[in-house]
């Protein structure tokens, strides 16, 4: 365990080895990351934790170790995500250790282009400056920010004066 690594919340989530004689998939970092691309963000279920940029270092050894970068320090979904990671990786048949770290801080720039597209399709605008924010429904620039704070820690509230629809945008963090 790195001394510099901060672990909070989901520290030491572990699964036992599943054992058994079933077919165990090939294990390397790429295979683990591919599997993690199927773990969705519980608060934004249209994007995976990989698309959100929440997956940091992945180390495959006798134990599979996954570093998660929390989007927010007090993210209440972190335990759920940790448990989902452990459940998804159980098929590899090795112990899984998930830890949250701030050594590399999560920033909204880590969201992948695919992730941004999936968010926009769901009516959530990407993290851009107020001037650059466009309505995800009609692409109008005639938008106002109603509130810096929205339904989850990572979102703000906007209103489109063109199509008269409220929408959310990711905070720039």
């Amino acid at each position: 365990m790195s001394e510099a690594g901060i672990q909070i919340g989901i520290a030491r989530a572990r699964s036992g080895a599943t054992g058994g004689s079933g077919t165990v998939p090939r294990i390397d970092e790429a295979a683990v990351r591919l599997a993690l691309a199927e773990v969705m963000d519980p608060e934004l279920p249209m994007v995976s934790i990989v698309e959100m940029g929440m997956v940091g270092e992945v180390a495959v050894g006798p134990t599979i170790r996954v570093d998660l970068l929390p989007t927010f320090v007090g993210c209440p979904a972190l335990e759920l995500i940790g448990a989902a990671v452990v459940a998804r990786l159980a098929a590899f048949g090795r112990p899984v250790e998930v830890r949250a770290t701030f050594v590399v801080p999560w920033t909204s720039e880590r969201i992948t282009p695919d992730g941004l597209a999936a968010l926009a399709a769901a009516g959530i605008a990407p993290p851009t400056s107020l001037e650059d924010t466009r309505c995800p429904h009609c692409a109008s620039a005639l938008v106002v920010r109603d509130s810096l704070f929205g339904p989850t820690q990572c979102r703000s509230l906007f209103y489109c004066r063109s199509c008269r629809q409220p929408f959310e945008a990711l905070k720039i963090v």
């Binding site: 365990m1 001394e3 510099a4 901060i6 672990q7 909070i8 919340g9 520290a11 030491r12 929390p70 927010f72 320090v73 007090g74 993210c75 209440p76 335990e79 770290t101 701030f102 050594v103 801080p105 999560w106 920033t107 109603d146 509130s147 810096l148 704070f149 929205g150 339904p151 989850t152 820690q153 509230l157 905070k171 963090v173």
Partner: protein, 262 residues
């Protein structure tokens, strides 16, 4: 399972006792202001502010959980025990946060003084030599930026408001002013933290930085600058009746069932 978990840490070559005082003061500050903020859930003056105060409270209590986690790692104690199982006079948050929720102007005035103080404190920690705290503070700074945007907009709006809004803000500032700088109360063992490079400068110097940071805003809004802290040695003690009430609220569940899991 609790949100806060102890962090495994090496304590070699660390000024552990002084570091514990720093982490405890910061964690208690965030925990107490987050608990006060959460009192607005359901009763804020606007729906957007109800959401905002609830989100702010969630942020601050999340920050407290991370800081209690570091403190737990340092001292070998359960972070939830540190957060909940102390008597009111054992908490070390700043007296600025002891004034009760009050009205909206009081909440904005308290948040403004706290958020600006916290920004100066975080700035003195992000480059620090103890990586677990420096890394965490690097992340906190990004979140607190939104808190500052929010409270500065409200502080300015109330100060520019004629009659009642401005009068209420002035009254709130007058009530808070003896404790306005109490976030910068010198910590026991503080020189060791500065010497080890964990904290960039002593609290007295950070308070001077804070005062020069907020002075232009106070001048532009024609508000009286807070005077020097009335009882500087007691800035994190002698919390009073309002905090005793808040303490009874935030640990109510814990006291009714210490083994509860949620």
């Amino acid at each position: 399972m609790s949100a806060a978990q102890a962090v495994s840490l090496s304590t070699a070559d660390l000024p552990v006792i002084a570091l514990g005082h720093l982490l405890g003061a910061m964690a208690d500050d965030e925990f107490v202001i987050g608990s006060s903020d959460s009192e607005w859930t359901g009763i804020a003056p606007l729906l957007e502010e109800d959401v905002a105060m609830s989100s702010l409270a969630q942020d601050e209590i999340g920050h407290a959980a991370a800081l209690y986690g570091l403190l737990g790692g340092l001292t070998g104690r359960d972070p939830d025990v540190i957060a909940y199982d102390r008597e009111p006079d054992e908490y070390r948050h700043s007296r600025l946060l002891d004034h009760g929720r009050g009205d909206w102007a009081m909440t904005i005035a308290r948040r403004y003084l706290y958020e600006t103080s916290d920004a100066v404190r975080l700035d003195a920690l992000v480059g620090g030599t103890w990586a677990p705290l420096a890394d965490l503070c690097g992340k906190l700074v990004r979140e607190e930026r939104y808190h500052q945007m929010h409270v500065t907009a409200w502080f300015t709006r109330l100060a520019h408001g004629h009659d009642e809004p401005r009068e209420r803000l002035l009254k709130a500032l007058a009530t808070l002013s003896p404790d306005a700088g109490s976030v910068f109360t010198p910590l026991p063992g503080e020189p060791a933290l500065v010497e080890a490079g964990i904290l960039a400068a002593p609290m007295t110097e950070l308070e001077a930085r804070w005062r020069s940071m907020i002075a232009p805003t106070f001048a532009a809004l024609d508000l009286p600058m807070p005077p020097p802290t009335a009882r500087p040695a007691m800035g994190r003690q002698d919390h009073g009746a309002d905090f005793a009430w808040l303490w009874g609220e935030f640990n109510q569940v814990r006291r009714s069932d210490p083994e509860a899991v949620w």
